[in-house]
């Protein structure tokens, strides 16, 4: 669904999203990596259980909260990817 505009990004990093190994480029946000990997869902609303996904992409809506390297409720849109990063979404816990 999403595709990278720059066909030759400088460098490559590898992270896992819910156990899946995913390639990304330095400078990508975790949100970008999630969207490129076709796994946009970040978790479920604690209020009504509906699935949520990044919405604003700029730190305002808090719809993109995921666990990053064990740290709960991190904003995927504001966190740059790092080699070896482990991302878990709330969706996979279901």
């Amino acid at each position: 669904m999403f595709r990278r505009l720059d066909p030759k990004p400088a460098g490559a990093v590898t992270l896992t999203i819910d156990g899946r190994v995913v390639a990304a480029a330095p400078g990508d946000s975790v949100m970008g990596a999630m969207l490129l990997a076709d796994t946009p869902a970040a978790g479920r609303s604690p209020a009504d259980g509906s699935p949520r996904a990044p919405y604003c992409g700029m730190g305002v809506c808090f719809e993109c909260l995921v666990t990053i390297d064990g740290g709960p409720r991190r904003q995927a849109c504001l966190t740059p990817v790092r080699d070896g990063m482990v991302v878990t979404t709330g969706i996979a816990d279901d």
């Binding site: 609303s45 604690p46 209020a47 808090f62 909260l65 409720r73």
Partner: protein
């Protein structure tokens, strides 16, 4: 310049103006609602969203009665809005608590509630005094420092942004002509009757005028021979990330919204027209909220803001009508609570019906001494 004819011009599109316009609108009645643009001082979008009577009206039973009436009307008001606009404003009204971290505070509040009940006589509404254990039965998340609470079963809260949206949608469906970007600069009486309003988007003529411009009323009221000594009072509010159901009832300072966020509020500061936030004030609000509900300590704060209350010298509403019965003023703190009666009695009066007692009880004449001094 555009010139148009209306039966009623409502100045201000906040909760107060929108509630009155919504209630006054109907077939054959031409109503225009003149508002500023997106950037405006607008208490209606920065408030704490309580529908609340508990503790109000000490020494002023008429205000306690008016608030109780508003709160009792709220369910059917919310149902009407939902039926007409399809928007559920999220009214939860199973009661509300004022929590205390010190025994003296609780004793004082309990005594105040008793005095209000005595003043109201047969009209008294129930308020219970709860100890720690009884409070914990309603709100199991309280911390050990909470000594107790007062509880009033009439109180509740709403989703105020949906209320704002529903009122505007309701106005639209009832044919109200909403004009944003139409700040009113001047209002004058026409020689043959009616009013001329000069706005940033042209001139409007209307047979009746309703001033519901919040803090803007101070400047506009004298143009109609009325007075509205309103002053800004800032309230800062914190909002946490969403979390599972933690609080089944709202309290005066901490409540969980229907979408899962916890709102913590609100400071009371006289800082002029400054809508900013200050870390020390927010930290104090957060610290006291965590003493009330220790589980809040692990939640991230996602937003904070400052908003200006439309405050009158005694905190009570101001309703006024000029001698000709064609120029009205309605302004208040607690405009969320009072929205049901603004859409009811006040709107009916504006549309030409009978004036409810509140026009005498809450006339700005009570501030005559203040103004003379």
């Amino acid at each position: 310049m555009r010139r148009s004819e209306f039966d009623i011009a409502v100045v201000g599109g906040g909760i107060v103006g929108a509630a009155i316009a919504f209630g006054a609108a109907g077939p054959g009645r031409r109503i225009v609602m003149l508002d500023e643009g997106d950037v405006a001082l607008r208490a209606s979008r920065g408030n704490f969203a309580l529908v609340w009577v508990h503790g109000k009206g000490l020494g002023r039973p008429d205000y306690a009665r008016w608030s109780a009436r508003a709160v009792r009307r709220w369910r059917s008001f919310a149902d009407d809005l939902a039926a007409e606009t399809g928007t559920d404003v999220g009214l939860e009204q199973r009661g509300g608590l004022l929590l205390f971290l010190d025994g003296e505070g609780l004793t004082t509040q309990a005594a105040a509630c008793r005095r209000i009940a005595d003043d109201l006589g047969a009209d008294a509404f129930p308020v219970e005094v709860l100890d720690h254990a009884a409070t914990a039965r309603l709100l199991p998340a309280i911390g050990p420092e909470v000594v107790g609470a007062t509880f009033c079963p009439l109180d509740g809260h709403v989703n105020v942004l949906r209320l704002f949206g529903a009122l505007h949608e309701g106005c639209r469906r009832r044919g109200v002509d909403y004009r944003p970007g139409a700040k009113v600069a001047a209002i004058s009486r026409e020689p043959g009757g009616g009013y001329r309003l000069d706005t940033a988007a042209g001139t409007v003529a209307a047979a009746r005028v309703v001033l519901a411009a919040g803090l803007g009323n101070g400047r506009l009221a004298p143009m109609l021979g009325l007075s509205a000594p309103v002053l800004p009072e800032r309230g800062q509010i914190l909002v946490t990330e969403r979390t599972g159901r933690l609080l089944d009832y709202p309290t005066g300072t901490v409540r969980q919204t229907d979408e899962g966020s916890v709102m913590i509020g609100a400071s009371k500061e006289r800082v002029g027209f400054d809508t900013g936030t200050e870390t020390e004030v927010l930290a104090e609000l957060a610290a006291s909220a965590v003493r009330m509900f220790p589980a809040l300590a692990s939640l991230a704060v996602v937003r904070s803001w400052g908003a200006l209350r439309v405050m009158t010298p005694d905190g009570l509403p101001i309703y006024a009508v000029d001698p000709s019965g064609t120029a009205f003023l309605a302004t208040c703190h607690s405009g969320i609570t009072l929205a049901s009666v603004h859409a009811g009695e006040i709107a009916a009066a504006v549309a030409g019906g009978t004036l409810p007692d509140v026009f005498a009880q809450f006339s700005p004449e009570r501030f005559a001494d203040v103004q003379a001094a």
